[in-house]
């Protein structure tokens, strides 16, 4: 699951970086960048961190 989370996190960056080439409208770029940031945060906080929390030392 951590690897899936890393892919999701990286995908958010790709979306944000690609915004400059996909559209020339600043509104469109802003939207894509914000979505990209959210996607990356979901990858980190919603996928990677929970995957590691499953085996947290305080649960043992």
């Amino acid at each position: 699951m951590a690897l899936v989370g890393l892919v999701v996190t990286f995908a958010g960056f790709v979306l944000a970086a690609a915004s400059v080439g996909i559209t020339s409208s600043n509104t469109g770029r802003l939207g894509m960048v914000l979505v990209g940031i959210v996607v990356s945060l979901i990858g980190i906080m919603g996928v990677i961190n929970p995957a590691y929390q499953k085996n947290a030392v305080w649960k043992k």
Binding site: A2, L6, T9, F10, A11, G12, F13, V14, L15, A16, A17, A18, S19, V20, G21, S24, N26, T27, R29, L30, V33, L34, G36, I37, V39, S40, L41, G43, I44, M45, I48, N49, Y52, Q53, N55, A56, V57, W58, K59
Partner: protein, 547 residues
């Protein structure tokens, strides 16, 4: 005869008329630009006589005169060319001294980080924590000298303030969406070849101490459980690859800084002194390690409720914060890379912005904690102070004193909220709060450039190759600058975090990140370092921790 005389007269008349026309004053030509030949000898300049200097110069009026100017031709004497050369040398020398001395201040921040982190750790880990901060300096410098500097600055091109840095002239780039995207530099490995250059060496020293700040941030989150051997390897890899890559994109001629020139997004990603490049890179890497390593034993109950694990010396923590603040006077103002020409007199503005933001954040953080928990918590006040300094780092060259106070006030509260979120919601054990101080507030600093840059700065007429001052949303700059900053944020969160996580996952598989539970409970000083940090103190047993 009369005909001859008539012809002669007519001829002469015509000739004289032509002469008259020729002699009539022509329209005044355009005045030629005044020029002075460089070989013109300068005369009449008085210099002290040898017998006057031999008598001593207590007033300082005989020292430092035209006689001290090196002559191109001693036989010819002082020329205009000699004067021009001296002016050029003085300009570059001023900038060299400024950049080097501010770099020395940043180096001293390592001491500040060391005692902040050691103070926030328990006494049984003092040796280990201090040694991580001590050797991160050497580990980072080694990696950076070997390859990191080349990746970051190998293609930065001419840095006018330092006399050109011409050897740093090779950037590897790809073409994407019709534009060139610089990815990494290719000159300067081990400072060999043409990069053995006085200007390049100034750049190396200054950039190296910034890189080391990013590396040392990570040790704060991972303290009290990080294997010392893995820490060394992880730091070397971060100094060699992770940090230099993002720094190239932001500062070294890479694609992030060229978002303005290539796609019309303001001046491209702007980060004056490194809220993103240094602090956020350190902060997201710290988050990666915090998630991977897991919390310290006893940090959370079985219900996931956090236990406070206080540090052993709050006086070290607050003293360390002051040392860091002192070093920040090198971190931010030094990022002009000069004190003469090209708008560099703004060093006063940068320095004042820095101190105001730190002050404002210390107040807002202290008051927030006081209202929330009933006491002005010392460690969080120190962290708030640092958060303000982190947040102002990116915008310090472009904003007003008033904006600096606002940025700091927000940073002071933001760090408290972020610490609570990281500890209670993410359940990531961040021993010193590095993720919140440097990661969260580094990102806030990056964003604040896109909001508060006021368009008043002018560093040589352009920034990142775009010929207008950096201007944010609140000052009529439109959304372009803000979008460029957010792309930088997305890169930090999406790319830098991923790269750091992958590198450390590999290290986890190969050598393990975390010490054994036995070593952790005993304290890392003996198992990892072979000696206690405080051998003459009897450490009291830890109070029973609620599980």
């Amino acid at each position: 005869m009369k005909k001859v005389l008539l012809a002669f007269s007519i001829t002469w008349s015509l000739a004289l008329t032509g002469v008259a026309f020729a002699q009539a004053p022509a329209a005044a030509p355009a005045a030629a630009a005044a020029t002075i030949d460089a070989g013109t000898v300068v005369t009449g300049v008085s210099t002290p006589k040898p017998e006057e200097k031999a008598a001593g110069d207590p007033a300082g009026t005989l020292t430092g005169t035209a006689a001290d100017i090196p002559l191109g031709d001693a036989k010819k004497g002082l020329t205009v060319g000699d004067l021009a050369s001296m002016l050029g040398q003085n300009l570059i020398a001023t900038n060299f001294v400024w950049t080097l001395v501010t770099g020395f201040l940043v180096m001293f921040m390592q001491a500040g980080f060391a005692i902040v982190e050691t103070g926030l750790a328990r006494a049984k880990n003092a040796n280990h924590t201090m040694m991580m901060n001590f050797m991160v300096y050497g580990a980072g410098m080694l990696a950076y000298w070997l390859i990191g500097f080349a990746i970051q600055e190998g293609g930065v091109g001419a840095v006018a303030n330092l006399g050109g840095t011409a050897p740093l002239s090779s950037e590897y780039a790809i073409t994407l969406f019709g534009k060139s995207w610089g990815l990494f530099g290719q000159k300067g490995v081990m400072l060999g070849g043409a990069t053995y250059d006085v200007g390049v060496l100034v750049m190396f020293l200054f950039q190296m101490v910034f890189m080391d700040t990013a590396l040392t941030i990570v040790t704060g989150t991972a303290a009290e459980r990080w294997k010392y051997s893995t820490f060394l390897v992880s730091s070397i890899l971060m100094g060699a690859f992770t940090y230099p890559l993002f720094a190239n994109w932001a500062w070294g001629g890479g694609w992030l800084q060229n978002l303005g020139g290539n796609y019309g997004l303001g001046n491209g990603y702007v980060d004056f002194a490194g809220s993103g490049v240094v602090h956020s890179v350190g902060g997201v890497t710290a988050l990666a390690l915090g998630i991977m390593m897991g919390p310290r034993i006893g940090k959370y109950t079985r219900n996931g409720k956090p236990n406070a694990i206080p540090g052993h010396d709050i006086t070290m923590v607050l003293l360390g914060c002051f040392i860091l603040a002192f070093g920040w006077f090198g971190f931010n103002p030094g990022s002009t890379l000069g004190a003469a020409a090209n708008g560099n007199l703004r060093i006063s503005s940068v320095a004042v912005n820095t101190m105001l933001a730190g002050m404002a954040a210390s107040f807002s953080g202290m008051l927030y904690m006081w209202m929330r928990y009933g006491k002005p918590d010392a460690s969080m006040t120190g962290n708030a102070f640092l958060a303000g300094l982190v947040a102002i780092t990116a915008p310090s060259g472009f904003v007003s004193p008033m904006a600096s106070v606002v940025i700091g006030l927000i940073a002071g509260v933001l760090v408290c909220l972020s610490c609570e979120f990281v500890e209670r919601v993410l359940k990531v054990d961040d021993v010193v709060g590095a993720v919140s101080v440097h990661g969260t507030n580094g990102i806030w600093g990056v964003i604040s450039v896109g909001l508060f840059a006021d368009g008043k700065s002018n560093y040589g007429g352009a920034w990142n190759g775009v010929a207008h001052s950096v201007t944010g949303l609140f000052y009529g700059g439109g959304a372009g600058q803000l979008i460029a900053q957010l792309i930088g944020v997305a890169t930090l969160i999406g790319f830098v975090f991923t790269m750091s996580f992958v590198i450390n996952m590999i290290l986890e598989a190969v050598m393990g990140q975390r010490v054994s539970a036995k070593a952790e409970l005993e304290g890392l000083d003996i198992p990892e370092m072979g000696a206690l940090g405080y051998p003459e103190f009897v450490l009291k047993p830890e109070a029973a921790i609620e599980t």
